[in-house]
Each structure stands twice: as C-alpha cells, then as structure tokens.
Amino acid sequence: MYKNFGTMIKRCVLYTFICMLFLSTSAHAYVDPGSGSVIVTTVLGFIAAVGYTFRKFFYNIRAKLSGKKKPKENRSLDD
C-alpha cells in the first residue's frame, strides 16, 4: 500500500504520462514516417558508440593487466 494518497496520485500521473507518450496513430499516405529512422539511428548509435568504445577500452586494459591475448572471435550464430 502507498504511504499516502499523494504518492499514489503522483504515480498515476507519471504512468499516464508514459502511456500517452507512446500512444500511436496510423500513418498517412504522403508522409514517410520511416524517414525518422535517421533520428533513431543517430540517438541509438551515439549511445551504442559510447558502449562500444568503453568495451574496447575495458578489454584492452584487462588484456594488458592479465597479460592474456585477446580471445578468439566467436563466429558462432549461437550464444
């Protein structure tokens, strides 16, 4: 149970806001909504690049500290 009524209202408002943010409508004939993927790939690509650079840096540091060679690339299509 929520400690007080105010907390419950705040959570309801927050949840409703999140829901409204993602409500969608159908596409229209002359508009290419798919053109928005350049925006999406820019944002997600930036985040991914940070992770990519960090991982590369981390693996290099770990390899230097442990003296082990970089592990052979896993070419399998499974885990």
Partner: protein, 479 residues
C-alpha cells in the same frame, strides 16, 4: 512467366532496381536448373570488388553466403539475360526449396537475424555495408541459413547510418520480441506484414510492464514515437521536411549492430508441451507396430531415387528423419510451432542436415502474395515433391479442419507425386477423442469412402494394417 528459352524472372526479385534474378528451367521435371542474376553496371562493379574482399571469402568458406560465379558470356542463357539490358550476369548455387520468414520457427528467425548481423558486422569491418535488411535475403538449405542477395552489399560511405536498421527491427527484432516477451504467435502477423511490422503498429502490442523489457523502449517505442510525431507534423498540406541526419561514425554503426546482436542473443522462448511437441513419447503405437510403420515408409521412400519429400503433419519429425537418409531434401511441415522448433533445434548443428522444418497450418498453407500475387509463391507452387508423407493426418484434415476427403485427395493429386497415407479408422482412440463433444460426427469418414476416394485419384500400390486394424497405411501412386 517463362520465355521460350526457358528463362523466367523470379517474382520476388524486382524490388531492387540494380538486379534481377532468373531461373533457368532444368531438363529434369520439378527442378530449377540454374539461378542467374542480371546486374546493372554499379552492382556488377561492386560484385567484382566484393569477391576480392577477405570477409566475403571467409563467409563463403563458412557457407554463410550463396556460392556465386561469373558464367561464360557466350552461354545462351547469359546472352538472353544481357539482352534485357543488364551489364553482367552472375550464377548462384541453387537453393533446393525456397521458404519464407513467416514459415520459420522462432529459432530459425533468430538464427537468420544473427546471420544478418554477423554478415553486416564483418562487412562494416572492411568498409562495406548492407543496403537493406530483408529477411527474404536469407534462405535455409536444410537447417543451415544462407545469405543469397549479393547486390545488397555496397561500399560503406563515411558518415553513413545503418540504412537497414528500421527494416531489421520490423522484420526480425520485433517479431522475435513479440514471441519471446509476449508469447504472441508472430507468424500470422509476419505473413500479413511481408515488409515487416511497422514500429507504430508494433508499439500497440507492448503495453504494461512489457514496455520495460530489454530493447523494447529503444527499438520499438522510441522509433514509434518519432514516426508518430513525423506523421502528425507532416500530414495534410504541411511540407515534408528533409531528414538527412547527422553523419555517423564507424563506431556508432558498429556499436548499434553489436548491441542488436547481444539483444537478439538474449531472446529465448520456453518450449511448452503441446499435443505434438512430445509426439515421440506420446504417440499411440506400441514399439513393434511403430517399427512396421517405419519400415513401410522407408520402403516407399527408397523406391524413388533421391526424392524430394514432404512430410506434412510431421510433428517432431520422426518420419522426416527416416526419409532423410534416402532423400535429397525433406520439407517437414507442421502447424505446431513448438514441434517444429524442437525439430529445428535438434538438427541445427548438423551441417549436412537435409531437413527443412517449416511451421504451416495445412488447412491454410502460405498463399501466393505480395505485388500482383507473384512476389511470394504459394507453398504448393514452389516445387513439386516426389513423395508426400501424410501420416495420421487425414482425420485432422476431415474432422478438425472440415475439409472433405475428395478435396484433400484432389490437392494431393495436383502435386503429381506418390503419397504414403495413414488412414485412422473411426474406432481408433484418437478419432474417438476427436469426435467427443462434436455435434457433427462426419459419417462420410469411414474406410469404405476413404478407399473409394483414394482409388478415384490414385492407384494403391501397397497397404498394410496397423494397430490391430484400427489404422491402415497406403502407398499411393499417380493413376
């Protein structure tokens, strides 16, 4: 359509203006002789360069890309294709049976997605990229996925985004997440959306806590939000805004591809027990009777040289496996997703497996669809089998799907092949179970009518009684 020289443009290859695929008829009935591809100047130039790259050679060695050669320009078929205006022609290895993503189990779609990402990552590491992410660019030879669309490879231009990102999410990632996170049967949805499930549509499925599952916010809800805003802003008489996007570094593109690889690898499903997924343990035969049935099937299949076999209603593929040692290829079909998934998972590591498992409801097989109904070929229009196994299926066809016996036999006859058919009589406990609680009792479903229909459409070559007369197995040959 086939022109007089026996060359036919393949319906599904027209969307890319840089090339077109042609099938050259074989002298052997039912088989595609050769697959040739006409290329424009740019695609031809790319193809020459691509074949010299280390990653392409490695992918070829790993049998992950369709084997491709440059045929002799004096070849009659090549000359014919060149006359259509193409700058050059390449010849591809023939895929024995074409299948579509809406026929693949979860594991097959997941492996195809990982193959696409593997190839893209390799390409990016050597300055190349894939210009699209169509799942139709991947085919299965047995259980081995293979990439077939060479003109998709283009040199990566500095600053260029991953242009196939949206298509990858719509065609691979979203259906996989729908199955893994929501338990939704993604196949009928993919059959309808042959260009992939658009983000705005996909976002409607992810409600409540599923919005917070790994990857949903980033790859479904965020793109849907962006697209919704674009649609709202630019509709009616508003001008369309040009969106070229900011230049993207190599790390951004590669990082995104790698993060999607991790996401796809994290997607798993639990295989629930269904009527057919444990058929090997739960079928109603004792061991001796089951062995007699296996021997009958083996005898019928081995009577044809390297046959192309369809096992329709295959469950987990017991009889597909028996046929596989004699067959060139076995297409194992069942409407039960988990049974097919089990069959796929148990054979996916076998490089030489010649069983292609497909999920399909036999009462509603994949239709001819796409542009003008020629882009995707109906399941029974792709290649005729040499022999069909329909074992303990006919009572489901008649009583579960309400398909009259004569219509089922007519369909089989149109395939112009031999058939091994197991008739399950009315007093078999499985038919009794099927009829319990049904108001319609299918009086026409009896041995006498079955024999009449069988003889009307086929000749009975051999038959044997099974399960103490409750069942009978028939080897039918075209009349």
């Amino acid at each position: 359509m086939t022109d007089p020289s026996g060359i036919a443009a393949i319906g599904g290859s027209f969307r890319d203006p840089t090339s077109r695929v042609y099938a050259v008829k074989s002298d052997t009935l039912n088989e595609t002789g050769r697959i040739l591809r006409g290329l424009d100047h740019e695609a031809l130039d790319n193809c020459h360069k691509l074949m010299g790259t280390a990653f392409f050679v490695r992918l070829l060695d790993e049998k992950r890309i369709v084997s491709t050669t440059f045929p002799d320009n004096n070849d009659a078929a090549v000359k014919d294709i060149m006359r259509s205006g193409w700058a050059g022609v390449v010849e591809h290895e023939v895929v024995p049976f074409v299948s579509y993503p809406y026929e693949w189990s979860f594991g097959m779609l997941r492996t195809a997605a990982l193959l696409h990402l593997r190839i893209l990552e390799d390409a990016l590491n050597e300055g190349w990229t894939l210009k699209d992410s169509s799942p139709f660019n991947i085919q299965f030879i047995g259980t081995r996925p293979i990439f077939i669309d060479l003109p998709s490879f283009v040199p990566w231009a500095e600053g260029e985004a991953w242009v196939g990102y949206r298509q990858f999410c719509s065609c691979f990632l979203t259906p996989l997440m729908m199955r893994a996170y929501l338990g939704i049967d993604h196949l009928p949805i993919l059959r309808s959306y042959i260009d992939g499930i658009p983000p705005m549509e996909a976002s409607k499925y992810f409600v409540g806590s599923s919005r917070f599952r790994f990857g949903v916010m980033s790859h479904v809800l965020f793109p849907a939000m962006v697209e919704k805003r674009i649609s709202a802003k630019e509709r009616d008489n508003s001008e369309a805004k040009s969106r070229t996007g900011k230049p993207q570094s190599h790390s951004m593109v590669l990082g995104l591809v790698q993060s999607l690889t991790r996401l796809v690898k994290s997607l798993k499903i639990e295989l629930d027990h269904t009527d057919w997924s444990d058929y090997d343990q739960t079928h109603s035969y004792d061991a001796e009777e089951h062995n007699s049935k296996k021997a009958f099937v083996e005898r019928a299949v081995s009577g044809i040289s390297s046959p192309h076999v369809w096992d329709i209603g295959c469950n987990t593929g017991t009889f597909s496996l028996i046929s596989a040692s004699q067959a060139s290829q076995v297409i194992a079909i069942d409407g039960d997703h988990n049974a097919i998934e089990k069959l796929y998972l148990s054979h996916k590591d076998s490089a030489e497996a010649n069983i292609l498992p497909l999920v399909m409801n036999l009462a509603n097989i994949s239709p001819a669809q796409g542009w003008a109904g020629i882009e995707r070929i109906a399941f029974d229009g792709r290649r005729k089998p040499d022999i069909v196994l329909a074992l303990a299926l006919i009572h489901h066809i008649r009583m579960s799907a309400n398909i009259p016996l004569d219509m089922f036999f007519e369909w089989l006859k149109r395939l112009e092949c031999e058939v091994v058919l197991e008739f399950v009589d009315r007093h078999d406990e499985m038919v009794v179970k099927l009829l319990t609680n049904k108001s319609e009792q299918y009086a026409d479903y009896n041995r006498e009518n079955f024999i009449t229909q069988a003889k009307k459409h086929f000749n009975i070559k051999e038959s044997a009684s099974l399960k103490g007369g409750k069942r009978e197995i028939f080897h039918l040959v075209p009349a």
